[in-house]
């Protein structure tokens, strides 16, 4: 009697054997996707580990300020913004935890699928390929943020096996492992996943390979991979730039791989929504968290001349200036219509510190059913990890790097041409809200330098506030010069940057979390400078 009286069976939980049924194994696969949005526990601060990298990619770049209610509001992101990042910063910690959570879930699913004798063998191959794709993604993010990372895979079964060195593999070896995952996925995944668009296609895997090659500066492989994706004919740019960022199109023809967000799906607190971005609603009719505020420098970078060519003088845009029409799809400016919500005429939070610009590109209108009217004010619009314009600009970049400037120009113009032909923001009376002017590069680039500048400018304008900018600056090797010259000017505009300084050789990567160093049994080497 006493034996069974003291036995414990958890209520509502699956045992190690119960999880082995095919349906339950599918559940393990689902949960490996679930953590793509950065939400890995019941806490409300997934904004410390956002899928969109708004803090890790935009705030720390020349595109944006932290925003919010002063420098003390999420003070640790302020420290990131001025490059006084330290290994104890909660975001450094939670981002790592979120990404390794993804790694762990993918590994677990692979391991359990491999064990299963009842799971459909064909489907099993596919599911394992999906898991390798996801693992590749999580490691890619870890690599670009932290650089030196421990590699854990499905063979690491016990908790002891999570103690691993972050210097055991060289940078190249890590890249190769990540590539191997995407390559394995590419070889197995189907070309079409339209029934369940959360799952990557083989072309998504190929596109991610292109991204890896770009980061590795392996230009020739990048060209092959990008060409494969382009030639697959599966993707095309949408006609209207703004349409890309409407919830209705968030699995549209331009989207190669996205984090699937959902709201009102029965989950408590709507944590399946764009939870990492929940501090971004820009005030006024929205709840006023007001984080992620476009920089003056970013706004200025949209300035064009009468011919529609980028000016890049970093002189403040005035009403008389010509601007790239993407500006008013990306940034909320006073006096310009904000989505379908009338003119932006309200005071954003703490404008004294962070200025009047607010983010707009990935903001879903308050009138949209995809916007959650209650806390945590998230949206169901997906975050795009790779969209087709990415592939085109990578192709252009690889071409330019290999001296093929004309191919580069062609692909830049595909992206720029779509912007040119897109609808501009208009007032109610139908007149354009500003002096919009944009044209494609209609004459061949004079030299590689000009081509490179054009490419880099285009990436900035096309992908502003999508979480990529800082990582581009780092892989281009110009983070030091760009950020420090940005700070030189920007600190005269915004006092919160007074102490900002980028240290070359240190700030290209974030520190390894202190908790990882502390708990790593001496096997973890901190990144240089921290």
């Amino acid at each position: 009697c006493s034996k069974s009286f003291l036995n414990d069976t958890p209520i509502g939980e699956l045992s190690e054997t119960q999880v082995q049924t095919p349906d339950n194994l599918e559940g393990l696969v689902v949960s490996a996707y679930s953590v793509l949005n950065g939400q890995f526990d019941e806490a409300s601060n997934a904004f410390n580990s956002p899928a969109s990298n708004w803090s890790f990619g935009d705030v720390v770049s020349d595109d944006a300020y932290k925003g919010g209610g002063g420098t003390g509001d999420q003070n640790q992101i302020h420290l990131m913004e001025i490059f006084q990042t330290n290994p104890s910063i909660i975001d450094v910690d939670r981002k790592w935890l979120a990404l390794y959570e993804g790694v762990k879930r993918a590994n677990l699913a692979i391991r359990e699928l491999n064990k299963s004798e009842t799971f459909d063998p064909e489907l099993k191959k596919q599911r394992i390929a999906e898991m390798r794709f996801l693992r590749g993604h999580y490691y890619f993010e870890l690599k670009k943020i932290y650089n030196h990372i421990p590699w854990i895979d499905e063979t690491d079964e016990t908790t002891d096996s999570y103690y691993k060195s972050n210097t055991e593999l060289t940078s190249d070896q890590l890249w190769q492992k990540i590539l191997d995952d995407f390559d394995a996925a590419y070889k197995v995944l189907p070309a079409d996943q339209s029934a369940e668009p959360a799952r990557p296609t083989k072309w998504a895997a190929r596109a991610y390979m292109a991204k890896c090659y770009i980061f590795m500066q392996d230009w020739n492989d990048a060209i092959t991979a990008a060409d494969d994706v382009i030639n697959s004919g599966k993707y095309h740019l949408m006609d209207n730039f703004r349409d890309v960022f409407l919830p209705d199109n968030d699995n549209g023809p331009e989207i190669i791989f996205a984090v699937q967000n959902s709201i009102n799906d029965g989950s408590p607190n709507n944590y399946n929504g764009s939870i990492g971005d929940r501090l971004m609603p820009p005030g006024g009719p929205f709840p006023n968290y007001g984080f992620l505020r476009p920089s003056q420098n970013l706004v200025n970078s949209f300035k064009t001349d009468a011919a529609g060519m980028p000016v890049e003088d970093n002189v403040n845009v005035t009403d008389a200036d010509y601007v790239d029409p993407r500006l008013d799809h990306t940034v909320g400016r006073h006096g310009i219509p904000y989505l379908d919500m009338g003119l932006y005429n309200w005071e954003p939070r703490d404008a004294v510190t962070y200025g009047e610009f607010i983010q707009k590109k990935r903001q879903v209108s308050k009138n949209s059913p995809a916007y959650l009217q209650v806390w945590p004010y998230v949206t169901s619009m997906n975050y795009y990890i790779i969209r087709y314009a990415d592939v085109l600009l990578w192709r252009a970049e690889a071409a330019i790097e290999t001296g093929d400037l004309e191919t580069g120009r062609t692909y830049i113009n595909m992206v720029r041409g779509r912007a040119k032909n897109s609808e501009v923001v208009k007032f109610d009376d139908g007149t354009p809200a500003a002096n919009y002017s944009i044209d494609t590069y209609n004459t061949p680039f004079a030299d590689k330098a000009e081509a490179t500048t054009a490419l880099r400018t285009e990436r900035r304008l096309e992908f502003a506030l999508e979480g990529h900018r800082f990582f581009d600056l780092v892989r281009w090797g110009i983070a030091d010069s760009v950020m420090n010259s940005y700070f030189d000017v920007e600190k005269t505009r915004r006092t919160h940057l007074a102490n900002a300084h980028f240290t070359a050789g240190k700030n290209e990567y974030f520190p390894i979390p202190q908790s990882m160093v502390d708990l790593g049994k001496g096997m973890i080497t901190q990144n240089p400078g921290y």
Binding site: S2, L6, D8, G12, E13, L14, S15, E16, N24, G27, Y33, S34, L36, Q39, F40, D41, A43, S44, N45, S49, G69, G70, T71, G72, D73, N75, N86, S88, I90, L97, K104, R105, P150, Y162, Y163, K164, P197, A198, D250, Q260, S262, N264, D265, G266, P268, Y271, P287, N288, R349, D350, A351, V352, V374, T495, A498, N499, P513, D518, L519, G520
Partner: protein, 1098 residues
């Protein structure tokens, strides 16, 4: 009990005098003999061998042998010569005996002084006796009371007021599964006397312990019905430090505030392991034994206790007014080298308060004192009625209570209705006892969020700008024009109907059977049932920077049912000078819990009638539900042995099995204790010392308090982070499964070993009592949620494990003085004092410290890390940079050279590792929330019908981390109101300031965690002052009529600048509560209360 007719008398075959027989029977039975030696053949010898005779049988044989008349009255055996002497002139004397409360005292012995002529008082306390005409005085005795001599002066009736014996050495103390006389105690036990419990207007039992006994600390969040934590001898572990509550033999784990304090007869706290270890598991943090009232008077008794009172905030914080805030904002912006501008205060050279705060001109500017605004003077009231009756065959007591306390924060409060029925019946000549104690209570509580950085209403009142009016011209709660703080009054108002309702049913039924003389079997079945129900409605509202765009409702229901079944055998035997008491038993316990919540939004009306799930939008519905259960089996044994009342020995052994542990379910918990009553020794001849006892105890207790299923790895679906919209849908997800935890099947019992040395000393006929204890308490195999390397991901980054060690060392001193009664004046003074030194003595090699999870820090500290627990430091010590004051001049900044971004007026931080840079490596431990010394001081005075008492308590050596300064002192969060001390912030004109220069940019990062936030928390608080008056018995036909006025928390002496120097824990129900102590985030201050009360008994 002291005397029991069933006590067995053993006398050998030797020949003894009558006097010797009387002594032997007295020693063995506890009965006193009353006789006049001159009348009896005291020196006559006889041989009367007795083997296990009962007292009455023994005296009967005595009487027969010596030809005496015997009369057993209460605890007195009255012996008279067998042949009545010749008749004398007599007179009849009548009177009444009352106890110290003025209640009739039945069963008191009244004899004519110097004779054996006497009687016993009746149920109404009256007596009538026939005394010799020349008698001059009466002697009245009653066990536990001082004997009284009354001069016979010819009155028709005499009223005798009895006083309790100064020292209750015969006081009966409830300990594990039984009782013991105080003089026989070998462990460290704290006692709250029933006189201290009575008429203390306290809403909950645990708060009664506050300051009353050495080594027992009580911290509370001060809100009505809010959280309370009791700490016995410090913090012995990381997770659960709550003592085990045993109410009438039933363990009650939570909801002590559901118990009506008026039902309590006694409270004992078992502090050391030797006394607590009989409770084995779960007793490592001490045991609070609560006994409820039983019927004891032969006549039906009706009691009415009532009080009403008013409470108010004893202290309020001063914030900047509207103009001052603008001025300081301007100063801060100028300090940053910028041109001041603000959407409300304009952009002129000085800030200007506009007439309206909004473009629509419905929100006029104001100068609101938000802290004043949220507080109010609030009533508290309590009414109790109880009926009781008891005799040798049965006892019954039932009571009804109603308690209502409005919070001093508007729209908060606590209400309780409680009922209790206790009864016991004796059958077959008291061989069989059947009884039950049953309590039922229901509470309604509306608790303001408290001491939480994000959302606590007191903190929000600090942060709300003074310029905002309470209401706008449309009569709606106005918006903050500057920040996202919800109008604190609006928030309180909108939450006013969200009351948590708790129903608790707890009690026990028992059968006790005396198998043979001395051997008793008892079976006891107890339950603790709790149901918590709440509908939490958030109406729609729109303020400028904060809003609820859709109304929403969360309905939650939690059900908890624990039962415990205890079976014990108890054998008591005396032979000669030896006395033993053996207990053996088995206990089985099961705890089950279930809960669910439902949620909908989009309600058409805010009317309370519509606040039901069905009235909301069905499309928005969400729900969650969970359940857990666990169980325990325990084997109990205990032996008490005493020899000649001098040597006391007690040993217990308990074996516990818990379902919460996997491969190591069973734990063994032994304890042994010994006492030596030195003052009973023949050689001990110090007149001044009435009582001297030395005590020693050693024992072990267990703790298995880990979350359910911590030993089992399994998978589950967690809707927060395991589901995903695989099909790309916007409003639906596929269910995913993730590991629920990293189970550790090898988890075992955490063991606390405690050694206790104690001394009890009574001086000058016990007028001065001293109790001292020294203890060492070591907890090994600490149950700890140990972090795994972050490469394992964030969902299950921990594993419960046994690791590390914690130690508490300390001493406790209690000193009491009871004065003689001189001219109707009697006074007592008592002091208790305790010192505990807590230290985490070891952690696993790869863990530097135990911190708070990042997710928790976010929600309570705005991500600021304030506390850590590390080896060599007390649990939850404050951690951060060491602030060395402010730089006064640029020259000082330059000379220092280690803070390149600093300016004059910024904080200078210590470079602890002397590497020339101030960075994270320069952080250290900067304070501790644990006091070096806690003390309580009692004074009481009785003069005729008046009584006066005073109670003060306090502590020294603790610190507070004043996190309210995060928003309150720094303009990094410029949009929130600041504390008035910023008016004295550093400027070039005020170079000796202690508040750093104001700055929005804060390039020196003055706001970082540092000792700037850490403040001394020493205080002395006048907790209680009471004046009472007992009306003469008989008023309104009452047996007792007592009136009192009382003031609580009259004043506090402290240097702490926040609202209250007693900060306590962040959250009284969080699993991390013991790692977050003494951080002030705008706590709910203790109320000052004035009370008027009455106790009536008929």
């Amino acid at each position: 009990s002291a005397s029991d007719l069933s006590k067995r008398i053993n006398i050998d075959e030797g020949s003894y005098t009558l006097g010797q027989f009387i002594n032997m029977i007295t020693d063995q039975s506890g009965y006193d003999f009353t006789y006049q030696a001159a009348e009896l053949p005291m020196e006559t010898k006889a041989s009367i061998p007795m083997k296990g005779e009962t007292v009455d049988k023994a005296t009967e044989r005595l009487a027969k042998t010596f030809q005496l008349k015997v009369n057993i009255l209460n605890n007195n055996i009255i012996l008279k010569p067998g042949d009545a002497k010749g008749k004398q002139d007599t007179k009849t004397i009548k009177g009444k005996v009352l106890d110290d409360k003025g209640q009739p005292l039945p069963g008191a012995t009244v004899v004519v002084k110097g004779t054996t002529t006497g009687t016993i008082t009746g149920p109404d306390g009256t007596f009538s006796l026939t005394a010799p005409a020349n008698a001059t005085a009466l002697t009245v005795t009653f066990i536990g009371m001082q004997s009284q001599d009354i001069a016979l002066d010819g009155r028709a009736s005499y009223t005798v007021n009895m006083r309790p014996e100064t020292v209750g050495l015969d006081e009966v103390v409830a300990i594990g599964y039984g009782t013991v006389k105080k003089k026989d105690l070998t462990g460290a036990v704290g006692i709250v006397k029933s006189s201290e419990i009575e008429s203390q207007p306290t809403e909950s039992v645990d708060k009664m312990l506050q300051g009353r006994m050495a080594g027992v600390d009580v911290v509370a969040d001060n809100s009505p019905g809010g959280g309370v934590a009791v700490r016995v001898r410090g913090y012995s572990t990381i997770r659960n430090n709550e003592p085990l509550y045993i109410i009438d033999g039933v363990p009650v784990s939570e909801g002590i505030n559901m118990v009506n304090p008026n039902d309590i007869a006694s409270i004992q706290v078992l502090k050391d392991a030797s006394s607590a270890s009989i409770y084995g598991a779960r007793a490592a943090n001490g045991v609070v034994i609560i006994t409820t009232r039983q019927g004891k008077s032969k006549d039906p008794s009706l009691r009415v206790d009532a009080y009403v009172g008013l409470q108010q905030a004893a202290n309020k914080l001063t914030m900047l007014n509207a103009q001052q805030y603008g001025d300081m904002l301007w100063q801060a912006i100028k300090n940053d080298g910028a041109t001041p501008a603000n959407e409300i205060y304009g952009n002129g050279p000085t800030p200007v308060i506009p007439q309206y705060l909004d473009a629509a001109q419905i929100e006029p500017s104001a100068n609101t004192n938000w802290v004043d605004e949220i507080f109010r003077t609030a009533p508290v009231q309590s009414y109790n009625v109880s009926f009781s009756k008891g005799d040798e065959k049965s006892r019954q007591a039932w009571s009804l209570g109603y308690f209502n306390q409005d919070g001093i924060i508007k729209y908060t409060g606590f209400e309780r209705i409680s009922g209790r029925l206790n009864s016991e019946y004796n059958f077959f000549d008291k061989k069989l006892k059947v009884g039950e104690n049953l309590g039922l209570s229901h509470t309604w509580s509306n608790v303001a969020e408290n001491n939480s950085a994000l959302g606590g209403v007191v903190y929000e009142a600090y942060k709300m700008p003074s310029i905002a009016p309470v209401k706008n011209l449309n009569g709606e709660y106005a918006s903050s024009p500057l920040n996202d703080i919800q109008n604190p009054m609006g928030k309180l108002y909108r939450n006013k109907d969200n009351k948590g309702k708790t129903l608790k049913l707890f009690g026990n039924g028992y059968i006790e059977y005396k198998i043979i003389e001395g051997l008793t079997a008892k079976t006891n079945f107890g339950i603790d049932y709790t149901n918590f129900y709440e509908r939490n409605y958030s109406p729609k509202y729109v303020e400028t920077y904060t809003q609820q765009n859709l109304s929403s409702l969360t309905t939650s229901n939690n059900w908890k049912f624990d039962w415990v079944w205890t079976n014990t055998l108890n054998y008591v035997h005396q032979f000669g000078k030896h006395s033993i008491n053996v207990l053996a038993g088995m206990e089985t316990l099961k705890s089950q819990m279930e809960g669910f919540t439902g949620f909908r939004e989009g309600f058409a009306y805010d009317d309370p009638n519509f606040r039901y799930l069905d009235a909301g939008d069905g499309g928005s519905q969400k729900n969650t539900g969970t359940g857990t259960e666990w169980s325990m089996i325990s084997y109990i044994s205990k032996v008490d042995y005493s020899y000649d009342n001098r040597y006391l020995l007690s040993a217990t052994f308990r074996r516990d099995g818990s379902s919460k542990l996997g491969n190591n379910k069973w734990g063994n918990f032994p304890a042994i204790s010994a006492g030596w009553r030195v003052s009973e020794e023949k050689f001990f001849n110090v007149d001044a010392i009435t009582n001297l006892k030395l005590r020693f105890g050693w024992g072990q207790n267990g703790n298995q308090d880990v979350p359910a299923y911590s030993t089992i790895s399994s998978y589950y679906s967690n809707p927060y982070y395991s589901n995903y919209a695989m099909d790309g849908a916007q409003t639906s997800v596929y269910t995913g499964f993730t590991p629920s935890r990293n189970g550790n099947p090898d988890l075992k019992w955490e063991t606390t070993t405690q050694t206790n040395f104690g001394v009890d000393l009574g001086l000058v006929k016990n007028r001065i009592e001293f109790t001292g204890d020294y203890f060492i308490k070591t907890t090994k195999d600490l149950l700890m949620e140990r972090p795994l390397p972050p490469t394992i991901g964030g969902t299950t980054q921990t594993v419960w494990t046994n690791a590390g060690e914690m130690q508490n060392k300390g001493f406790e001193i209690t000193l009491n003085y009871h004065s003689k009664k001189v001219n109707d004046l009697q006074w007592n003074v008592g002091l208790n004092l305790s010192h505990v030194k807590n230290e985490l003595t070891s952690l696993p090699e790869d863990i530097d410290y135990i911190g708070l999870p990042g997710s928790y820090l976010h929600s309570v500290n705005f991500d600021q890390e304030t506390s850590r627990s590390a080896v060599g430091e007390p649990i939850s010590s404050f951690y951060g940079y060491k602030a060395l004051g402010l730089f006064k001049t640029q020259a000082e900044v330059d000379a220092w050279g280690k803070q390149p971004n600093a300016q004059p007026g910024d904080i200078k931080f210590a470079d602890l590792n002397n590497d020339g840079v101030i960075d994270a490596n320069d952080r250290t431990f900067i304070g501790s929330p644990h006091p070096d010394m806690s003390f309580g001081l009692n004074f009481s005075l009785n003069y005729r019908s008046w009584d006066f008492s005073l109670f003060a308590r306090g502590s020294v050596g603790a610190q507070i981390y004043d996190l309210t300064r995060y928003y309150g002192d720094f303009f990094d969060l410029s949009a929130y109101n600041k504390q008035s001390r910023t008016l004295n912030a550093w400027t070039t004109d005020n170079p000796n300031a202690t508040v750093p220069r104001l700055s929005l940019d804060d390039p020196n990062n003055n706001i970082r965690p540092s000792s700037y936030y850490v403040q001394d928390a020493d205080y002395v608080r006048l907790q209680n002052v009471k004046l009472g008056y007992t009306l003469p018995a008989g008023k309104l036909h009452s047996k007792r009529f007592y009136l009192y006025v009382q003031a609580q928390n009259l004043f506090t002496i402290t240097n702490y600048k926040g609202l209250d120097p007693e900060v306590g824990l962040q959250n009284y129900s969080s699993a991390h509560k013991n790692l977050d102590i003494g951080v002030d985030r705008g706590i709910y201050p203790a109320a000052r209360t004035y009370t008027l009360g009455v106790n009536l008994e008929f």
